[in-house]
């Protein structure tokens, strides 16, 4: 990207990319690719430094806004899969459905064009199993505190429970629990928001 004309092409493609907003990743990439190919093809008849010629090419292509409008206006016709609606729920709570509900959610997520790669990675990694994981964690914590509770008969049972419930520092345990609870909820909300915008 050294010459003025090359920069002109890059600017045009960047403006188009900015206009494409919520267009799903694969569709967006292909459109940008094809417009770039079109410009390369059209420029073959020109001197590489011919700025006026390049302006004519970009003018014939039309405003990036008009191209984006055609692409985004067409988006509903791509008909997002109906299963998209349940994906955020399955990713969040699917773990409780025989453990496979989460897996089903993840498969539906990856097979839908509604979400981009980064959404899919995020939902898969934060947190595998969704809310099942913190519930399992809580179960283990509860079991541990129950043990210490039985060791202290009389009034101060409650205080013994809370201090000995977690072997590792209590704040750390609470933080882990918070992250594993809030993480999947925030991710599910994010997935749902992306779905509604698409």
């Amino acid at each position: 990207m050294s010459t003025r004309t090359d920069r002109g092409v890059a600017d045009y493609l960047e403006r188009l990319d900015d206009c494409l907003g919520t267009l799903p990743g694969a569709t967006r990439r292909q459109l940008l690719e094809e417009i770039a190919e079109h410009i390369v093809e059209a420029r073959q008849a020109l001197d590489p430094e011919d700025e006026v010629g390049l302006l004519a090419i970009l003018d014939a292509l039309g405003d990036p806004e008009a191209i984006a409008e055609e692409a985004l206006g067409a988006a509903p016709i791509t008909a997002a899969p109906r299963s998209d609606v349940v994906v955020p729920w399955l990713v969040l709570l699917g773990g409780f459905v025989f453990g496979v509900g989460w897996l089903v959610g993840i498969i539906l997520l990856w097979s839908s064009a509604t979400w981009r790669l980064r959404d899919k990675l995020l939902a898969t990694l934060v947190v595998p199993g969704g809310l099942l994981l913190p519930v399992l964690l809580l179960g283990m914590g509860g079991a541990a505190s129950a043990c210490t509770g039985s060791g202290g008969p009389g009034l101060p049972t409650v205080t013994h429970c809370s201090t000995h419930g977690f072997v590792l520092p209590l704040p750390l345990g609470i933080a882990a629990l918070l992250v594993t609870v809030l993480g999947p909820i925030l991710v599910a909300v994010h997935l749902d928001r992306v779905r509604r915008r698409a």
């Binding site: 459109l31 094809e34 079109h38 093809e41 008009a66 692409a71």
Partner: protein
Amino acid sequence: MVAGEDRDPVAQLRRGVAEPCVLALLRAGERYGFDLARELAGVGGLVAGEGTVYPLLARLRRRQLVETTWKESAQGPPRRYYRLTAKGKAELDAFVEQWRQFRFTVDAVLEGDR
């Protein structure tokens, strides 16, 4: 969306016929995208610019009415060629038939009171 354009009947009409027109351009055989974009924009009034042909082609491809293949070109990088699928051919034939009817009806109504 440009406000007001939705109410422009010609814009609406154009939007509806642009896709079948692309299919029609492919009836004689495969073409590459650049060529299609130039021709469609060249006839005037059908698409806003050469660039809007590409989202349109993408839509036709998703609906499996056209398919693409890569071909080496004598000069420059390989080109993406578009061709009609059997489904696309059927859709085009159906549209041509409906369009004949439609055109006849609209003409009859528009010119009826002359």
